[in-house]
């Protein structure tokens, strides 16, 4: 740092209840009731973080959960997730960039903000600290803030200082800095736990106690840590605040010097926008699921086009196909001045897995696949393009891949999956030997039926006639019943007796009789499907 440059001003924020207060965004009870996060250590569940209520009741990190439950029986325990904590901290860092663009996570529960040169924008250092405190409070975070000339000093003051927010004045030199930090415990130096323990065992429990020692002697006995940290907090050694890389915009925009209105120009502009967008998406490994193109016209009107894809996509040529049929819907009016293309929904592009197409490739290599068929990745692309076209015309829910679901109830036995995801793996089949119709009426249609008293070959209770859609059908044969109980954990419905019945014309029906538990209530008949 040159002599003429402005002195560094680093703001450290510490969130003493970070993991719990972060979870409180999703679980509001973490604010009002004793709440802890737990992790597993050597086969035991151990409390990792607590909220103020739990701490007030005597729970502390490191305590086995069983002990904690003995003290506070109704404590809510939630498994900890350090990765999610870190991710949330990163998002908080992005939020904090309204104060300064240089924000970095500090440890697992704090932030560094390099506010040098930014404070006047917020009305001074005190005002900035107050604004940050209010902002964090609005997010439900308890924070301790400190502003100093170095990250180390700010960190130490935020965590171990007496008051928050604490400010080491801009004019403070090394001597004042030393004095401001002298009373803090050595743990404020961001040292390893064993080094802190060693220092404390020598009676060196305050930072001030280290000042008289020769740095070389300190390093000899306690390793390089204390010396380096001291130099860092006093500013003799530079410690950078590395801001997070800015998020790549998931949008691309073009403003035109001359408003465009020709179809060719619009098409070229959309192609260029897609190129830009796809370049951004490829850096984050994402693909677009839904795109929105907004064309701003000279007279203030806008036209908007939306296109969806069946899988995350970042190939501009394929995305262009989705827009191709829609571009004529853009009304250029007196000319389009600006176009904004944004990826509204993005997903991570997954690596290809073994699936039908991979098998197709293998088959093609082995015994020459289906003639005329195109296999492998090309086939997947082609199918995805088809699904895109169908999806953009009929809606993405209209094409689905039905797969088995474990349920005895016919209407629940099928699950509709997204086509490309479902084709990726082979699901389980239906249990063999169950007789199911080709077409299923949903919901089942109420019919009037007459049960057989007894028959030579047909079982008693099977339907003999039924009236459906105004026509009476005589049933020549019936097979059954197959009794299906309803899933009582989902709904309370009577059991059903299913019969496969054939009428005189040869049509085969799937008819069921709802048998109420109360014998006084007459059974109701329904038609549920047709066989071939």
């Amino acid at each position: 740092m040159g002599v003429l440059s402005t002195p560094r001003r680093i703001l450290a924020a510490w969130f003493p209840w970070w993991p719990v207060e972060r979870l409180a965004w999703r679980f509001p009870e973490a604010r009002t009731r004793p709440f802890v996060t737990i992790g597993e250590q050597r086969g035991r569940l151990v409390i990792e973080a607590v909220n103020p209520r739990a701490a007030g009741a005597g729970l502390a990190p490191g305590m086995p959960l069983a002990d904690g439950r003995a003290i506070v029986p109704d404590v809510i325990a939630h498994s900890d997730d350090p990765a999610a904590d870190a991710h949330a901290l990163k998002r908080l860092a992005r939020w904090a960039d309204v104060f300064t663009p240089r924000v970095m996570p500090a440890g697992v529960d704090g932030l560094f903000l390099d506010v040098g040169g930014c404070t006047h924008l917020h009305g001074g250092e005190e005002a900035l600290l107050a604004a940050l405190g209010v902002g964090l409070g609005g997010l439900g975070l308890t924070s301790r803030l400190a502003l100093a000339g170095t990250p180390g000093a700010a960190w130490a003051l935020a965590r171990h200082g007496e008051k928050s927010p604490a400010i080491v004045p801009r004019s403070a030199g090394p001597a004042e800095m030393k004095e401001a930090l002298a009373g803090l415990p050595v743990a404020a130096l961001r040292l390893d736990a064993d080094v802190v323990e060693a220092l404390v065992s020598f009676g060196l429990d305050r930072i001030g106690a280290l000042y008289p020692f020769d740095p070389g002697a300190l390093a000899k006995r306690f390793g390089p840590g204390p010396r380096r940290r001291l130099e860092q907090i006093l500013g003799f050694v530079e410690e950078p605040v590395i801001s997070l890389p800015p998020p790549l915009p998931r949008e691309a925009r073009r403003a035109f010097a001359e408003p465009i209105s020709a179809a060719d120009s619009i098409r070229a502009a959309v192609e260029a926008l897609l190129e830009d967008l796809c370049r951004n998406l490829s850096r984050t490994g994402e693909g677009a699921r839904r795109l929105r193109l907004i064309c701003h016209r000279g007279d203030g009107a806008r036209s908007v086009l939306v296109a969806g894809t069946s899988r995350p996509l970042r190939r501009s040529r394929l995305l262009m196909n989705l827009f191709a049929g829609k571009l004529e819907r853009i009304d250029p009016g007196f000319g389009i001045e600006k176009m904004v293309l944004s990826a509204e929904v993005v997903e991570v592009v997954e690596e290809e897995q073994e699936d039908w197409f991979a098998r197709a490739e293998a088959a093609a290599a082995g015994r020459g696949g289906w003639t005329g068929g195109e296999d492998g990745a090309g086939g997947r692309e082609e199918l995805a393009a088809l699904l895109d076209r169908l999806g953009n015309r009929f809606g993405f829910g209209s094409v689905a891949c039905p797969v088995p679901r474990q349920s005895w109830l016919p209407e629940r036995a099928v699950e509709l999956r997204e086509p490309l995801a479902a084709l990726r793996r082979r699901g389980p089949g239906w249990p063999e030997g169950r007789c199911r119709p080709l077409r299923l009426l949903s919901p089942p249609e109420r019919v009037e039926a007459v049960a057989r008293e007894s028959g030579e070959s047909e079982p008693a209770g099977a339907p003999a006639f039924f009236r459906w859609r105004g026509r009476r059908r005589r049933l020549r044969a019936a097979e059954g019943p197959e009794r299906l109980e309803c899933e009582w954990w989902l709904e309370d419905a009577p059991s059903r007796d299913y019969y496969l019945a054939e009428d005189e014309e040869g049509r085969r029906y799937w008819i069921f009789c709802e048998r109420p538990r109360d014998p006084a209530v007459p059974p109701r008949w329904f038609l549920h499907g047709f066989f071939a």
Partner: protein, 257 residues
């Protein structure tokens, strides 16, 4: 053909093949889609329905089942299958009995408008990744039918147009003017088991005929169907039109589809 001497018959066969080759370019390489029933396969050119063509299949519910059989056979090479349905009543557990593997069939439902259905079928037929397309269309005019044929020809994907006699128009009408083959499949009443009357009304390069087929074992793909050939339904051998002895209605569920 039994009155034709063997040598002449062989020459005739060779001539027929030659004519087919001239008629349809790339005929030799066009894979065929067989119903898997030897008696019927034998009446079809090349032993099955031509891929890269549109075929018309009509009738009652049995036609749906027969489409499923053909589609399952079309999918013997890996790749997804597509069913374009007018409603949303197609029920996969029922289709599985005819050999369609779950997780492989893509179903587009509620394509109620004819224009939508035709557009979707044309798009699907252009997609070479698919192994077969079934569309529940009622009637096609010549232009639409021709478009579908061209789309199928370009990609080699077999297309099946499934129409229902219960719908408009009734039986006996030509639905797809350019169809490569035209079928009518109906259930045979009174047999107490899955038994279909399969009629080839027209087949380019093949012979029309009528058979009664029966699902031998529903769990397995229906290649093991029994068939009998007759020029008309009235000339069916009686013993096949009747249920086998001891086959009471109780066995219906085991055999029915």
């Amino acid at each position: 053909m039994s009155h034709v001497p063997k040598t002449k018959r062989r020459a005739l066969e060779a001539l027929r093949r030659e004519i087919r080759r001239i008629e349809i370019p790339g005929e030799a390489g066009v894979a065929c889609l067989s119903p898997g029933i030897p008696e019927i396969d034998g009446a079809l050119p090349g032993g099955g329905l031509r891929a890269g063509c549109v075929h018309e299949i009509g009738g009652d519910e049995a036609a749906t089942g027969f489409c499923a059989v053909l589609l399952a056979r079309a999918g013997s090479a890996p790749g997804p299958l597509m069913w374009l349905a007018r409603g949303d009543d197609l029920y996969l557990p029922g289709l599985v009995r005819y050999g369609i593997e779950p997780g492989r069939l893509l179903v587009a439902s509620r394509l109620r408008r004819r224009a939508d259905m035709l557009w979707a079928m044309e798009e699907a037929l252009r997609c070479r990744a698919l192994r077969g397309v079934v569309a529940e269309v009622d009637t096609l005019d010549r232009a639409a039918s021709r478009r579908l044929m061209l789309a199928a020809e370009g990609s080699g994907v077999p297309g099946l147009v499934l129409w229902s006699e219960a719908g408009r128009g009734g039986a006996g009408r030509v639905r797809v003017p350019t169809a490569d083959s035209r079928w009518r499949v109906t259930t045979v009443p009174g047999t107490g088991m899955t038994r279909w009357r399969v009629e080839v009304l027209h087949c380019r390069g093949g012979r029309p005929g009528c058979w009664v087929v029966e699902m031998a074992s529903p769990g397995r793909p229906p290649c093991a169907a029994r068939a009998s050939r007759g020029m008309a339904a009235t000339r069916l051998p009686r013993r096949l039109a009747r249920a086998p002895r001891g086959m009471a209605a109780r066995d219906l569920s085991r055999l029915a589809g």
